[in-house]
Symmetry: C2
Subunit: 142 residues, 2 copies
């Protein structure tokens, strides 16, 4: 589905800024933080607008957000054609380069909570070193 249709389907206005951000998230396919997004974008985008845009996309269900261990929120577009609820998979965070990856090949486990609690959602972050950084480190040792 293209960007404009996704926005319309979510009952959002088709503004230039939203299209650019959504397009970027879809292209990259992995969760990006505010700073990553603004550094990748070639054209300038006001940081406040970026905050609001990402919030809007998340609220509309087009994107999901996860928090890295560094405290930064990352946003990832959610393909409307795929099944499953958005963000219902573990995320991998590389502590070296800060990149995050969706581990979409598995679902989050069912968690038993204490009697009386109601669960609205969950998020699982696995952290370590991604294959790229690992290769780099090994190369330096040679």
């Amino acid at each position: 589905m293209d960007v404009e249709k996704m926005l319309s389907a979510a009952k959002l206005r088709n503004t230039h800024q939203r299209k650019v951000v959504l397009q970027l998230l879809i292209e990259k396919g992995s969760p990006l933080s505010h700073s990553e997004i603004s550094s990748i974008l070639t054209e300038p985008l006001d940081k406040v607008t970026l905050y609001r845009t990402l919030q809007t996309l998340t609220d509309a269900g087009i994107a999901h957000q996860v928090q890295g261990l560094d405290g930064a929120w990352r946003f990832c577009a959610h393909d409307p054609d795929s099944e499953g609820c958005p963000g219902d998979h573990p995320h991998f965070l590389c502590l070296h380069c800060g990149k995050m990856f969706c581990l979409t090949n598995q679902r989050l486990p069912r968690i038993e909570v204490t009697e009386g609690m109601s669960v609205e959602g969950k998020q699982l972050v696995v952290y370590g070193c991604c294959s790229e950084c690992k290769t780099e480190t090994e190369d330096k040792l040679k």
Copy 2:
């Protein structure tokens, strides 16, 4: 094990501030954020010292830290007599009152990561409404 012995065992100096913070974390048993700690403490503790103290305790392995969806880090003392690695359990975050609970009755699941990635740790946060807040809300509806 008492607070002083825990600090000594971790090769840390037995300062008053560290004893107070560690004591509080042990008493509460659930992960507390910076702001929660400083509002609970009766005696004044410099916020910078609190940051550094919590960092020190975490580095020393006496405490573990988890991040809520609100971005705030919570710290929880880790009983040195118990088995298992610190923090290797899901955490429940109440979106209403902001309190966090350790779900120590279960371990974190094993996650399959993409070939080449190395895992150093993981953290699972379940969020929703705790039993206390749920009861309160229900009471108000009556």
